[in-house]
Amino acid sequence: MNTNDLKEMWKSRIDGNIQDYSQEELSGLVVKSARMSMKAIQPNIITRLFLGAVTVILIWRIATEGYSVEMDIMYVAVLLLVLVCCIFVERAAYIMNKYNPDVSVKEWLEYRIRQVEKSINYRTKYSFLMYGSALISGCVAYSIVQLLHNVSFNWISIVIFISLFVLILVIRYIELRQYNKTLAELKELYRQLEE
């Protein structure tokens, strides 16, 4: 069987093996795409939801509860820190959504490999710093609240914070493992394209 026979075989049978969508179905897909393109890829969706919830709670507490000036100042400081984090997370999402796959396959693979490598390097370098700072800030804020409310020290709080730290380490390990697996698969695809 020569290559012309293969082409003929393909051309004569392929249309019978695919089923086109109707105009109504395509129209539904286009409407859904317009909606989906508003959200597109959502990196760190859990982080964004968490930051959103924390922001709302802090604003509500500042606005409604009659705390002392020191407490209000502390809540405002925490709120500012959370808002700065929100800005960085949204900036990361914006950068990720900018690139479209309407480029050659090789260029797309190169872009994806670069992005995943950047994410791995960033997480490896800064994750301890980020999570450690977040945990310490949380401990400090919590301790200040306890002091301002004249609540005595308790070991349960320490256990909770240590457990949170361990949980963060586990999540970081799973996340990095997934990133490395994705990177290996992308590099393998690239190698196959090049050979």
């Binding site: 049978r13 249309d15 093996n17 695919i18 969508y21 795409s33 994806r112 695809l189 196959q192 394209l193």
Partner: protein
């Protein structure tokens, strides 16, 4: 519907076969193909305003569809083909049955290639020139020639068995 939506819908209606063909070589269940179709349409919608050369719409759609499909790296990369090919109805026409079986074998053989080679073979069977394939894949024309020579050799060997 806005004018840009109508233009996009018209284009999609005309070229949807491309997305279906890419789905056929990459995904083995109707649900996966449907999901991927939606995702491809979403990416096409996002980059539609930047489509300047309407003469290369087919190539543009192939590039997006292939990139979206290969980005979906799945754990179950070992495909079970026999479940995914449409059933052949035996009408008594021996020639037609043989041609259907040959097509199934061709499709199975293409799916046994790695992810990037599948696209190259699909584009070749769809009568795209070596330079068009090179542009879509981002490799040189000579490299396309080498790959197609190797892949068609494998296909021919497959049919000799």
């Amino acid at each position: 519907m806005k004018p840009v939506d109508e233009d996009f819908l018209r284009m999609l209606s005309r070229y949807q076969g491309i997305i279906h063909k890419v789905n056929l070589i990459y995904f083995n269940t109707p649900e996966d193909r449907k999901d991927n179709f939606q995702e491809v349409v979403c990416q096409l919608w996002k980059s539609f305003p930047s489509l300047k050369d309407s003469g290369k719409t087919g190539s543009w759609i192939y590039a997006v569809a292939i990139n979206v499909s290969i980005s979906k790296i799945r754990k179950d990369s070992k495909y079970v083909f026999t479940d995914s090919i449409p059933e052949i109805t035996h009408t008594g026409d021996v020639d037609r049955i043989e041609r259907d079986m040959d097509f199934s074998r061709l499709l199975n053989a293409i799916r046994s290639f790695n992810k990037t080679d599948r696209s190259i073979m699909l584009l070749y069977l769809e009568e795209y020139s070596y330079s068009e394939i090179a542009e879509i894949m981002g490799i040189s024309v000579s490299h396309v020639g080498v790959k197609i020579h190797r892949l068609t050799g494998r296909l021919q060997k497959h049919f000799k068995i």
